[in-house]
Amino acid sequence: MAKTTYLMAIGEAMREEMERDPSVFILGEDVANNLYGSTSNFVEDFGKERVRNTPISEGAIAGAATGAAMAGMRPIADFNIAPFMYVAMDQIVSMTAKSTYIYGGQTKVPVVMRAVMLYGNGNAAQHSDRPYPTFMTVPGLKIIAPSSAYDVKGMLKSAIRDDDPVLCFEDGNCWFTAEDLPDEEYLVPLGVADVKREGTDVTVVGIAGAVPQALAAAELLAEEGVSVEVVDPRTLAPMDTDTILASVEKTGRLVVADPAHEVCSAASQIAAVVAEHGFWHLQAPIVRVTTPQIHIPFAPPLEAPLFPSSERIAAAVRSVLE
């Protein structure tokens, strides 16, 4: 057992799968130079053929990964920072997500598209997006947003083995959280939510970097005698809403914490599902703790208050207990 950071866990997942399966390879801008530290020694160990620097051509990265996947490979396309995926939007939506369906199952598209979400660090509006809701609107994509080192390793490995396209949104604010990971190989299945903390009074669903904030809020609230259950869907599409509904059935109260912008967020989707299928269990309004519907400003005093924090989550929990 060794302390492994979230960032290291990403590298371990890719390394193990590349060792296991020669059809796995990586392509993306600057991947051979280990820009963010998740591909240390990959070129040395796997060669430049399998760790491929691409031009700054996000559409071609997505398209080439999709074509290679259709032709039997298992590419991992590294998009660097999440908003760069917009540049490849059409390829991802029209080709990656739709090909299996359009061709009536004649092809599969086993590609993983990874990107980090950097927010809260003065990167301004073009570099700070958390765009998973944008992609959740698109059928045909499996979307994951792990919140811990354990999950990111196990889920990324599952994603690489999965026969469908998986978008993996990694949270930069989790990069340096560390935990002991098993020495033996393990997988975390896609499509299964995780109850990160059990509780009885209020359900807090957290997304990505909001999960540690929700757990911190739960600690705070425990001191106030409030028992919070924290649920992490982990896979955002298709989402394991059963686990969320079961939790709400138990607690009767729901807060959803989501670093995305409010409108059409994962939080809104979860709230809608519960308001439809869990309504009779609800004893209070469903409160969403999200980022307001404005761009991310550069200056730290403007940016800092915008994202879900343990304080904001705790306040929301208190509000549904009134």
């Binding site: 398209g63 074509g67 290679a68 390829q91 009536g104 092809t107 896609l190 499509g191 896979t235 809403t241």
Partner: protein
């Protein structure tokens, strides 16, 4: 290298199949049994068949919205294609795709995408897969003059060039986008000139001459198989019909222009040549024509008598491996 009589006859057969398939599609659309829109390739059969027959069955191919003919060119069975046009369960895509996505993976198709230019980087990826595995496989990617203005053209060709990927990019320059002249929106006269931006060969070929296309594409295929990378081939051609069935805007082309191109209709052009060269007797040509006609008629019959899929089938094939079923969301 001169083509054998068998190959030349097969070219004629496939071109005819495409022409007759398209004419049937047109009739069926008029009749109202084809949903959605259809884009016919009547007039472009030579470049399709010339290119497709320059590759092997194992080689990959990608088409676009105007690609009924391309799987046929590569040897696909007609019936499942026709059934797909009619949205039947026996369709090659089980009714999921329709006219703009006729793709028979069993003959090496990797899809036909109706988003202009979108197949170009995907083709690079398929070629990359072949290269990574050390397979002797190339990828033939069709797209139009209009598509050469999409960003994906640029990114795809650059990627293919730097990695020496075995792709043949075949630009079907029929002079027009939907209703917009290439002269108005493509900054160069010859799209082949764009190859200079990627340090790869750019070839221009008479798209009405199946043998010429075959020759140029064969050269590009050989280059690709030798590991020397992609080629951009521009076939100058023409579509005789509207951009899409029922789109009656024709103010953007002159009748003279159309007539001029009709005089170089690739099908009589090839027939006359084969007969003149003694490759096919008049009778043998007639036989090929009758056979093609019968094949297409059988395909139409098959399509008409095939069942529609059941509504519940709409939920199949979203994923290859669905995640555990949940209540909602």
């Amino acid at each position: 290298m001169a083509l054998s009589p068998e190959v030349l006859a097969e070219m004629y057969r496939r071109m005819l199949r495409i022409r007759l398939f398209e004419e049937s599609a047109q009739a069926l659309k008029t009749e109202g049994v084809i949903p959605g829109s259809i884009h016919l390739s009547i007039g472009q059969e030579a470049e399709i068949v010339g290119a497709c027959m320059a590759v092997e069955r194992r080689d990959y191919m990608l088409g676009n919205h105007r690609s009924h003919g391309h799987p046929i060119g590569k040897g696909a069975a007609l019936a499942p294609l026709m059934a797909e046009l009619l949205g039947r369960r026996t369709g090659v895509n089980q009714g999921k795709g329709g006219s703009m996505h006729l793709a028979d993976f069993s003959v090496g198709s990797l899809g036909e995408s109706s988003i202009v230019g979108s197949g170009i980087p995907v083709a690079a990826g398929a070629a990359l897969a072949a290269q990574l595995r050390g397979e002797d496989r190339v990828c033939l990617c069709f797209f139009g003059d209009g598509a050469s203005n999409e960003g994906m053209f640029h990114e795809g060709l650059n990627l293919a060039a730097i990695w020496h990927l075995p792709v043949i990019y075949l630009c079907e320059n029929n002079g027009y986008g939907a209703t917009t002249s290439a002269r108005e929106v493509v900054a160069v006269t010859d799209i082949a000139d764009r190859a200079a931006g990627y340090g790869i060969p750019g070839e221009i070929v008479d798209g009405q001459d199946v043998v010429a296309v075959h020759e140029v594409v064969t050269r590009a295929v050989e280059r690709a198989r030798r590991g020397e990378g992609p080629t951009l081939v521009e076939a100058k051609t023409y579509r005789y019909d509207n951009h899409a069935f029922g789109l009656h805007i024709e103010n953007y082309r002159t009748t003279e222009e159309r007539e001029q191109w009709l005089r170089r209709d690739p099908i009589p052009l090839l027939r006359d040549r084969l007969v003149a060269d003694g490759v096919l007797s008049d009778d043998a040509a007639k036989t090929v024509e009758d056979e093609a006609r019968a094949e297409v008629a059988a395909a139409v019959d098959f399509a008409r008598t095939s069942p529609f899929p059941e509504p519940a089938e709409a939920f199949d094939h979203l994923f290859t491996v669905p995640l555990p079923a949940r209540t909602a969301g």
